[in-house]
Every structure is written in structure tokens, then in C-alpha cells.
């Protein structure tokens, strides 16, 4: 009953907002800029935080699933604050200015696994607990509580601490004061204190009302047109943009596409996951009728094959340039729906791009806008297809380069990349041989590497591929590829290789759909001509026809 009332209230909000004519975004410019700055802020060597770690925290934030991160962070801070090398016990000014956290996280930057391990290389024993570095985890024992922190997790927790310190710098001293010689109860208090701080910040910078209004508008429209996730077509998307619901007012084609697809994805997931009974128990058992935030995050970001932002591929190491990554980005964002709605993504690239130019022009002057309305896009659908082809082959090449790096460092992981790019017959032979090797031996990785190397020397195709990989590496002068990295840095190359493989597959499957659509080599050009009229007319309606 309470949910129903809330729904009705939501509808009233939409009606009362009728005066606004643009979409009211859910995230403040300040919060957006804060995250952009997290990516840009410098450290001892290059950027301080890795894009992947910032990504992780941004997912926690948008899902309002930061409770467990705050809990982990409180334990990590406890270990630092009570570390004799960083402890501010002897510092007379400790109650006013942070010492241990500042030294550990900012000055020494012990946030990469290697530095973190080194900082905790000696076991610590204090009156309130013990800390020691194990093979995989930093082990904490505080009273009867045991807690483990992985060195690879510290980067993520450091981003959270940076966010907290940036929202309110005085928090660092507070955390230190609360955690010195503290017991498990005090750690829990710090955790809940941090949660409250983030909660009240997000209340101001991430209100949910506007996104709820958008979802209601879209689900209403789909119901009215009797459309579902399975029956939505390219024409349906175009119809929505041409005749959108009254409120909130949808102007940008890119927003229409993103919102429609995000909405149908959400609908499909929920309908496939829940039966009515379970949904009811989730709704009534949790506070304020909210679904478990951890479930939301796992469903939206981890289980799905889509909505990933892999822009860290353009960071350091620079696996891809921005120009190579950008065409892939919308496909990554919507996964399999790009194949269900192939034309919508061609339209997004060409006409969505044209609309962005118009929006920029409108900010300058009406004359510039009128000029841009007259100039048709300089790219057509086939140009986008060509860009995707380039990106695909780049993904493949860089994987080959990564294979060379692994090979040069005697790491058998190179086989994974190589197998995917070998002719099928050789793939099969190698797979069968390797399976036999693994079954027959319990030896460590190094001899396996030597075995594989010997085996490969008998196969000219594999040798040729490795030589080619070496040449590609030599010719790649992008950051992170100028010289061989050290063995301890290989994790990120492995992540990169997996992400590139994902991109490559996604693009290849999309291009296959496009090829079928354009089997006579003329269809795309025809659709483009027709779309040009449709979009040009609608833009003139929106932005004002020149000389009218």
C-alpha cells in the first residue's frame, strides 16, 4: 500500500514539474567534476588513482552501496593509525592535524599492492590488536574480530578515503582520534559515521527524484505502445524520439536511446529474476521498501554483459587511444541490445554527433546554430562502420602486443591471447596438448612455460605470430609499451587483455549484424538518406529553422 502511495506521489511530482523543458539530471555538476578530478589528480608517478578503482567506487556510490566499503576502510585506517611507523601517538599536534593517514595515503602513497605490502612487512602488536601481512591478505585481529584486507583492494579504499577527505578534510583528524587504541566497537562507530557523511553529501548531490520521473515516463510510454524489451525495434526508438512523452521533455537522441535501453534492461532483468513472492518479501522486509543495494550493484554492473565503462583502457598503460575507444563505448554501454537495435547505434553515432554540435553551436550564437543546421554531417553510416573495424583490429593487435610482453617475461599467460588468434586447427592441437600436459604434471608455471615454448618452436605459424607480436611491440610507443614492464606490473596488462578481448568480441558481433543488414551493399546508404531527412526536419523543429 505504501509503495502505491509513493508511486502516486511521484506522478504528482511529474505533473508539477511541467514548466521545466529540459531533463533535470540526477547528478550535480560538482559531484561529476569531483569524480573527473579524482581521475586527473597527480601522484608520485603519473596519476594517483587508477581509473578502475575510481570506477569501482563510482558504482558503489550510484547504487548507494557504500556501507561495506566504509567498514573495510575503517579497519584499514585502524591498521595505519596504530602502525608504530605512522602512529601519531607522539605527535603533540595530533588532535588537530592528521599525521598517520596523511603520511600513509598521501605522502608515501602506500596504495599500490607492492608499496602496501612493504609498509606492513613487519608484524605489529599493540594493546588492542595485531596486524600481520600474510601471503594474500593483511590480517587484523582486534579483540575477537578477525579481518583481512587484500593489498589489491587498497587502491579502491584509498579512493573512498580521498572522496571523504575532499568532502570534508577535517574528517582525517577525526578518524585518527577515534581509531587510536580503539576496540572493534569504535571501528564500527567510525564506519557508521563515514556512512552518514556520504549519505548527507549524496542527498544534496545525487537526488533520485528526477531519474524516477524518467523511468515512469518511459514505462508509461512502452505500456501505451504495447512494447516490451523483446519487441522494441529501431523504429520504436525513433518514434519515441520524434513523439516523446510530455514530461520530462526528451530532446537529445542520445538521452532517448540511453534511457529507453536502460529502462528495458532493468525491466527484463527484474522480470527474469523475480517471481512475485520473492519481490514482495524483498519489498516488505527491508527498510523503506528499498531493495538490497548490494544486489542492485551486482545486477547492474557485475552480472550484466553491458554498461561497462572501460575508458581506463585509454589511461596508463594506454591500450587504446580515445579515438579508438569512443566508437566502441556505446556498444559497451548497452551490450546485446546494440545487436537488437543496430540502426539506433548508427543513428547515435552520426545524428547524435550532429546534435551535440548543434547544442554547442546554440550556446555560441543563433547565427552559428543556423550555420550548423545547414551543414549536414560529414560522416555517414559506413564511416562509423569503418571506425569500428579500425577499433576491432586495434583491439586484436594490442592483445598480440600484450602476449609478447607475457612471453618475454616467461609467463605462460601469453598462450591465452595467442590461442584466440590462431587458425582453428592449430588452436585445437595446442589445446589438446596443453590439457595433457596439465593433467600429467604438478609442476609450477615456469617449466610449463618452457614446455610450451619448445612445443611452439615446432609450429611455424605460431612462431610467425610471435615474431609479428614482437614487431608490433617494438612499433608501439604508447605509454606503458615503450619498454617491458616489470613482473609485478603484469596484473593490469592481464586486465587490459581481457577487456580488449571483450571489446573485440562485442564489436565483431555488432559488425556481423550490420553486414547482414547491408548484404546488397546499398541498404545502409538508402537508410542514411532517409534518416537525414527525418533528423534534419526534427532538428529544425527543435532548434528553429533558419530564415523561418
Amino acid at each position: 500500500m505504501s509503495v502505491k502511495l509513493e508511486h502516486q506521489r511521484g506522478e504528482q511530482t511529474i505533473k508539477s514539474g511541467r514548466m521545466t523543458n529540459i531533463i533535470n539530471y540526477g547528478i550535480s555538476e560538482t559531484l561529476k567534476a569531483l569524480f573527473a578530478q579524482l581521475k586527473d589528480t597527480p601522484g608520485l608517478d603519473g596519476y594517483k588513482y587508477h581509473g578502475k578503482d575510481i570506477e569501482q567506487i563510482s558504482q558503489n556510490i550510484v547504487c548507494r552501496n557504500y556501507g561495506s566499503v566504509c567498514y573495510e576502510l575503517s579497519f584499514l585506517c585502524w591498521a595505519v593509525v596504530n602502525h608504530p611507523a605512522y602512529s601519531s601517538h607522539s605527535d603533540s599536534s595530533s588532535s588537530h592535524s592528521p599525521s598517520s593517514l596523511l603520511n600513509f595515503f598521501w605522502i608515501e602513497e602506500n596504495i599500490q599492492p607492492k608499496r602496501f605490502r612493504h609498509a606492513f612487512s613487519h608484524p605489529i602488536e599493540t594493546a588492542c590488536g595485531q596486524v600481520s601481512m600474510g601471503v594474500d591478505y593483511l590480517q587484523l585481529q582486534i579483540g575477537d574480530i578477525e579481518f583481512a584486507i587484500s593489498p589489491t583492494r587498497v587502491g579502491v579504499l584509498a579512493v573512498m578515503l580521498e572522496l571523504i577527505a575532499s568532502i570534508e578534510p577535517t574528517q582525517l583528524s577525526k578518524i585518527e582520534t577515534l581509531l587510536i587504541d580503539a576496540d572493534k566497537q569504535s571501528i564500527k562507530k567510525v564506519s557508521s559515521h563515514l556512512q552518514k557523511l556520504i549519505y548527507s553529501y549524496l542527498k544534496e548531490h545525487m537526488p533520485e527524484a528526477s531519474t524516477q520521473g524518467r523511468f515512469r515516463a518511459i514505462s508509461g510510454w512502452l505500456k501505451q505502445h504495447n512494447l516490451t524489451a523483446q519487441t522494441l525495434t529501431d523504429q520504436g526508438v525513433l518514434n519515441f524520439w520524434l513523439n516523446p512523452p510530455a514530461q520530462p521533455s526528451y530532446i537529445k537522441y542520445s538521452t532517448v536511446l540511453d534511457d529507453l535501453l536502460d529502462a528495458i534492461t532493468a525491466m527484463e532483468v527484474v522480470e527474469n529474476t523475480f517471481n512475485g513472492e520473492y519481490a514482495l518479501s524483498l519489498g516488505s522486509n527491508t527498510e523503506q521498501g528499498e531493495v538490497d543495494a548490494d544486489w542492485v550493484q551486482t545486477t547492474v554492473f557485475e552480472q550484466a554483459d553491458n554498461h561497462e565503462d572501460l575508458s581506463w583502457l585509454c589511461q596508463s598503460p594506454k591500450f587504446l587511444t580515445l579515438a579508438q575507444y569512443q566508437p566502441i563505448s556505446p556498444l559497451l554501454s548497452h551490450g546485446k541490445l546494440a545487436r537488437q537495435l543496430p540502426l539506433s547505434f548508427l543513428r547515435l553515432s552520426i545524428f547524435g554527433g550532429w546534435q551535440s554540435v548543434l547544442v554547442q553551436a546554440k550556446r555560441k550564437s543563433s547565427q552559428v546554430l543556423a550555420d550548423k543546421l545547414q551543414q549536414y554531417p560529414n560522416r555517414q553510416y559506413l564511416d562509423y562502420v569503418a571506425e569500428l573495424n579500425d577499433s576491432e583490429s586495434q583491439c586484436k593487435q594490442v592483445q598480440q602486443v600484450i602476449a609478447h610482453i607475457f612471453y618475454s617475461l616467461n609467463n605462460p599467460l601469453f598462450v591465452g591471447c595467442m590461442l584466440k588468434q590462431m587458425p582453428t586447427d592449430l588452436q585445437q592441437t595446442l589445446k589438446i596438448w596443453m590439457r595433457a600436459q596439465i593433467a600429467n604434471t604438478t609442476e609450477s608455471e615456469e617449466p610449463l612455460f618452457l614446455h610450451v615454448q619448445q612445443w611452439l618452436s615446432q609450429h611455424p605459424k605460431a612462431q610467425k605470430w610471435l615474431t609479428e607480436a614482437a614487431t608490433l611491440f617494438k612499433n608501439n610507443n604508447k605509454e606503458g609499451f615503450k619498454k617491458l614492464p616489470s613482473v609485478t606490473e603484469l596484473d593490469i596488462y592481464q586486465d587490459g587483455s581481457e577487456a580488449l578481448d571483450h571489446c573485440q568480441e562485442l564489436v565483431a558481433r555488432y559488425l556481423l549484424v550490420i553486414t547482414k543488414l547491408n548484404d546488397k551493399n546499398t541498404q545502409l546508404a538508402e537508410i542514411y538518406r532517409s534518416d537525414l531527412c527525418i533528423f534534419s526536419d526534427r532538428f529544425k523543429q527543435i532548434y528553429g529553422a533558419p530564415h523561418a
Binding site: 500500500m1 509503495v3 502505491k4 509513493e6 508511486h7 540526477g26 547528478i27 555538476e29 560538482t30 559531484l31 561529476k32 567534476a33 569531483l34 569524480f35 578530478q37 579524482l38 589528480t41 597527480p42 601522484g43 563510482s58 556510490i61 550510484v62 592535524s97 599525521s99 596523511l102 598521501w106 605522502i107 580521498e162 577527505a165 575532499s166 578534510p169 533520485e208 531519474t211 524516477q212 524518467r214 523511468f215 514505462s219 540511453d258 536502460d262 529502462a263 534492461t265 532493468a266 532483468v269 527484474v270 522480470e271 523475480f274 512475485g276 519481490a279 514482495l280 524483498l282 519489498g283 521498501g289 531493495v291 542492485v296 550493484q297 545486477t299 547492474v300 554492473f301 554498461h307 565503462d309
Partner: protein, 185 residues
């Protein structure tokens, strides 16, 4: 399906949509904003205090000078992190301009250019400089209650480094103003 089931499912769908939409917006390109409107992260202030040459000092300084809490925070960091400092000089005379600043670790002085009036050579001597001063140079921070200015000197060679400045440059004036404390990083 009973009505309340429909509404519960609707609410869950809405939550998934919201998470995804907010995520997308969070990572959208930030609209063009004037420098001063772009927020800082705490690390930017720390890096400036540490003398990291990769920081956009002008932008960070602009923020610091617009906010008293940030100024206090920056001063606190400088007190903790600076390589050397020279306090506000005791107001012995009515004139606040001084000809040199000296401490156990450094000396800061200036010479007027004989050929070009209005130009000065500011010389910074650090007899026992540390490695980073040879690699990345030295940052000199001039701090008063109401204003902080910062200037970067090139790497130290043979114990000294220098800058050619306009005599009217506020940063030059602050360096030799007794009411400004100096912090080197």
C-alpha cells in the same frame, strides 16, 4: 498478478534504472566550467604543498585564495610538509619591505637588473638541498592571513637557482614582505 506485486516489481526496476542512469551521468563529460568552479580533491592541495610539479598550481591556488578553510588547511599542510620556512618578520619598522630572507636552510635575495629598470633577479640559495630540488625545482609559498601566493623556481644547480621577475609582480612583492611567512617545498 496482485496489484502490490506489480508495484514492488516496478520499484525494483526503477532502482536498477536509477543506478544505471546515475552511473552514466557521473561519467559524462563535465560541462565547460570556469577553473574556479571545478572542485579540488584533497590530494591536489597535498601535492601542491609537496611541490609536485605536475599539479596545476594556478588553479589550485585560485581555490585556496577563495576559501578561508582551504587556506588554513593548506597552511597546516605546509607547516607539516615544508622543507624549510621563514616566519613573519617582527614588525620592527613601519616599512614592511625587506631585502632578503634567511633561515638555517636557505637564503632568498634579489638584485636589480642594471640594464632594464623594473626587472629583478631573485636568487634562492639552498646549501644542503635535497634530491627533489635537483630534479623538479623548488616551490616557494608566501603566506599571509588573507592571501597565499606560490612560485616555482627551476632545479637547483650548485646550491642555487634564480628567476627573472618584474619588480611590480605581486609574487615578488610578497616574497620580500615582512608580513608574509615563507615555506619552501
Amino acid at each position: 498478478m496482485p496489484d502490490h506485486h506489480y508495484h514492488d516489481l516496478f520499484h525494483i526496476k526503477e532502482q536498477l534504472f536509477t543506478a544505471k542512469t546515475l552511473y552514466r551521468e557521473l561519467h559524462q563529460h563535465v560541462q565547460e566550467q570556469p577553473h574556479s568552479a571545478k572542485p579540488l580533491v584533497f590530494n591536489d592541495v597535498v601535492q601542491l604543498a609537496l611541490g609536485n610539479p605536475n599539479i596545476d598550481a594556478q588553479q589550485v591556488m585560485q581555490h585556496i585564495n577563495q576559501s578561508l578553510p582551504l587556506r588554513r588547511q593548506y597552511m597546516q599542510l605546509l607547516q607539516k610538509l615544508a622543507f624549510a620556512s621563514s616566519p613573519v618578520q617582527a614588525a620592527a619598522s613601519s616599512a614592511t619591505e625587506i631585502s632578503s630572507r634567511k633561515s638555517a636552510e636557505f637564503e632568498l635575495l634579489f638584485k636589480r637588473d642594471k640594464q632594464f629598470s623594473g626587472q629583478v633577479y631573485v636568487i634562492l640559495k639552498i646549501p644542503h638541498s635535497i634530491q627533489k630540488h635537483h630534479n623538479q625545482g623548488v616551490r616557494v609559498n608566501c603566506c599571509s592571513e588573507k592571501l597565499i601566493s606560490t612560485i616555482h623556481f627551476p632545479p637547483i644547480v650548485d646550491g642555487k637557482t634564480q628567476l627573472l621577475m618584474e619588480e611590480s609582480d605581486q609574487k615578488f612583492i610578497h616574497m620580500f614582505d615582512a608580513e608574509f611567512a615563507i615555506y619552501l617545498s
